[in-house]
Symmetry: C2
């Protein structure tokens, strides 16, 4: 038998950790809160990177690289920024055997170092917009960590753009929110709610933070990507002005936006089952695995047949593995490759061989179909797209089933307690938001676009005051 | 006029810095010794990465990611390793507002953290070989830094492999040396000498270090990539043993190998000229730039024509830019795009338009040819390959012209003083090596494979003792 994983029903968090460790996606490291991303996990990140990078470039962005280490004083230039990040900093105090004159922080995010450079690069409206993205590692000293979802060091991309007008910067922040939404839905098969964050939940230094929020199988929310309209906050902090087309001087407008290796955690949590990892085909490093089923008498013939099928699929440009290990039974291999989340299993046995066929087995539904080998290069891509759609549909049905609209606080508390998303009227008061969080652990995940109109005539779920918003509440990661 | 750069003859180092800054490849940062890689420089790194990553995967390697921060005690487990890297460490002493119990170093290289994980992952010969590569940033506290060539933080890849036998690990180290050699020659158009390093020049912790060495236009050597056979040194330091096929227990054998953003510096220094950057086409992010040449009367027509040519080339899969800015003259644009190193300029004027033609101008030689627009999608790739070959040939001719074999120390000193590579007989004595370095600043770059046979009957260049090697000496970066 392949290694057993804890059933979801027994312990959701053990189930998650078991999948991560036993599918060899990541491992604990000897450094507190830091993980090692193993090849099977990193290959998923490479898939995520390649799709997102293309989407960033299609929207006019270029990649660059800024220093890991940031003078500590830079963070102090933006008041909210330093307040938000100070508790999470890793600080380099010594270099080359000597104490540094000024400590350097390991970047928790790069607004400050990047805007110190933008000051050098931006003089005129002709230098704008500046649309830069960086793929990098960041460090945030977290008290409680969890593989992929919250680690002291993580990998991410951070976009940092500079614009001549408020409107253009706001458009950019929304454009990138929609790039994230599209990516989450079409590639990760994760349906998301999206909108803006409340004041208390926004990024330290932002005017507005937008986010996409997905539901995990334990009905908790996971913030999967954020895009910030930064106003002129960082331009003022770093004195970045430009000559406008009209000849006057103005501060530059800014956005920043990022997603991280946390997305891998989201994908695992949203789609996997008690047999292990389930991966959306579009981000699966291996699309299909060929497993021969033979008796002692047929081993050589069937292995040869499997190799022929493998060659055919590889030539067709599919990403395929083949498991010819003769130390393990077919049943063991089925379980092992299910654990690893390969979307399609291709079984080839003596009878398939006689008929020039193979049996395709879906990881998501277990459904089987026999297909002529000559048809495989067309059938597999079609089946992969079916699996992709099924995963999205399944996740969306699950989310919709567990998303409610309520107007009374008792129902609110019961749903939050049982697990689920709740849309509810909210007055807009930070005190109400804080009290609900304290009493139920639910936070406002987003205020959807256009939610204000729906709030007309409704009353705040806690205080009964007139509501200004229909807010989305949930417990979250 | 586009910005002027210092001529090579006036100051080679100013010339280099001017190209880096004015072609906007990189910029100085506010953090001592750290640079910012700007989009035009980072795009070259992306090209380098994509080719190398493919070559690594074709040779069976997988990517993974290990923590940035390493417990300081780990470095002390391998005596030579800690001695080599201690003076260059950046040390994190505080995290989350508190002093750490044990300081963490920012990785200068990852052998120690990786082998601490290999201990968990390797039990049996069935777990071997383990062939892992990491794309990452590293920090080495350098006293004197230089854009791209030596920076406190740099980007690189580091391969770390584990093997069951000495032979297999030695083979791997050589395999990767040859991957680097092939990449340098075929993609960077850099001819290289290769072989092993002497004891005094090898990597801290290695049994054998192999390297590739290129000649820059100032006739100094630049170490462009290294591959190390680590023996069982790190396996012993981290107690990584495995059960052999025969059932006994043995320490695991290791290699590591890396190249860095320094390669971009090598490419700039080897191929560029007084007009700016010259890039080998295979790593040029932009293969051709279209520049319209118009009078006031023809501006709209010619711009339309340029757009048609642009569309045609883009559809053909070529990476093309077009400069329609009407604030700059064609002459200014020629200079600007030459500075940026785009391999081919495509000029389109009114007469070209009438004839459905365009003029292709080579960045490397200035040679022009008029080509029918319909033929451009075939002609440009052919011309790019010609440029690639020309750059390699030119660099090789230059190197060969300035590479000498001498047997007397006076000639040796004169050549080293004037600039150039010198093959010379060497006894193998570290004292001789050290004295030559002291007297001439020349170091032994490599001992080529098979050099020992050629040394038979020769006498050491300094002492006259019997020679054991023909060593390659040069001043270096």
């Amino acid at each position: 038998m392949a290694e057993q994983i804890t059933p979801r029903e027994v312990s959701y968090s053990d189930w998650f950790v078991d999948i991560v460790l036993k599918a060899q996606l990541a491992d604990y490291s000897p450094v507190k809160g830091c993980m090692v991303i193993r090849p099977r996990g990193y290959a998923i990140w490479e898939k995520i990177q390649s799709h997102l990078d293309r989407m960033f470039k299609e929207t006019g962005h270029q990649n660059a690289y800024f220093p890991l280490l940031i003078p500590e004083s830079f963070l102090h230039k933006e008041a909210e920024h330093v307040e938000g990040f100070s508790p999470e900093l890793a600080v380099v105090t010594h270099g080359g055997g000597e104490a540094l004159e000024e400590p350097l922080v390991v970047r928790p995010t790069s607004e400050t170092i990047i805007w110190s450079m933008y000051k050098k690069w931006i003089q005129s409206y002709r230098d704008l917009p500046l649309l830069i993205n960086q793929w990098a590692n960041v460090v945030r000293w977290e008290k409680r960590t969890r593989l992929f979802l919250r680690t002291t060091e993580f990998l991410w991309q951070e976009g940092h753009t500079a614009h001549a007008t408020r409107e253009e910067a706001e458009e950019e922040a929304l454009r990138m929110l929609h790039v994230y939404r599209k990516f989450a839905e079409e590639y990760l098969a994760l349906p998301v709610f999206y909108g803006r964050k409340t004041e208390s939940e926004k990024f330290a230094g932002a005017v507005t933070t937008y986010s996409i929020e997905a539901m995990m199988q334990d009905k908790k929310a996971l913030q999967a990507g954020t895009s910030h309209f930064l106003g002129q906050n960082f331009a003022k902090a770093f004195d970045v002005t430009f000559q406008t087309q009209a000849g006057s001087l103005d501060y530059v407008w800014a956005t920043s936006w990022g997603v991280s290796t946390r997305l891998i955690g989201a994908v695992i949590m949203a789609h996997s089952d008690n047999r292990g990892l389930v991966l959306p085909p579009r981000i699966a490093p291996t699309q299909a695995v060929i497993i021969p089923i033979y008796t002692k008498k047929t081993v050589d013939q069937v292995a040869d047949y499997a190799k022929r099928v493998f060659a055919r699929l590889t030539e067709a440009g599919l990403s395929v593995e083949m498991d010819l290990d003769d130390q393990n039974s077919p049943g063991w291999k089925f379980a092992e490759w299910e654990l690893r989340g390969v979307p399609i299993r291709v079984e080839v046995g003596p009878r398939d061989m006689e008929q020039e066929k193979a049996v395709l087995v879906r990881r998501d539904t277990g459904e089987k179909r026999a297909v002529s080998v000559s048809r495989l290069p067309e059938e597999i891509p079609v089946l992969l797209e079916e699996i992709q759609k099924t995963l999205f549909r399944r996740a969306k049905d699950f989310r919709d089933e567990h998303t409610h609209y309520v107007e009374d606080y008792d129902s609110f508390k019961r749903i939050i307690e049982d697990g689920g998303f709740v849309f509810a009227p909210w007055s807009g008061s930070p005190e109400v938001e804080a009290r609900i969080k304290e009493e139920t652990k639910a936070t406002i995940r987003v205020l959807e676009f256009g939610n204000e109109e729906k709030a007309s005539g409704k009353n705040d779920i806690l205080t009964g005051e007139p509501a200004r918003h229909i807010a989305l509440f949930a417990k979250s990661y």
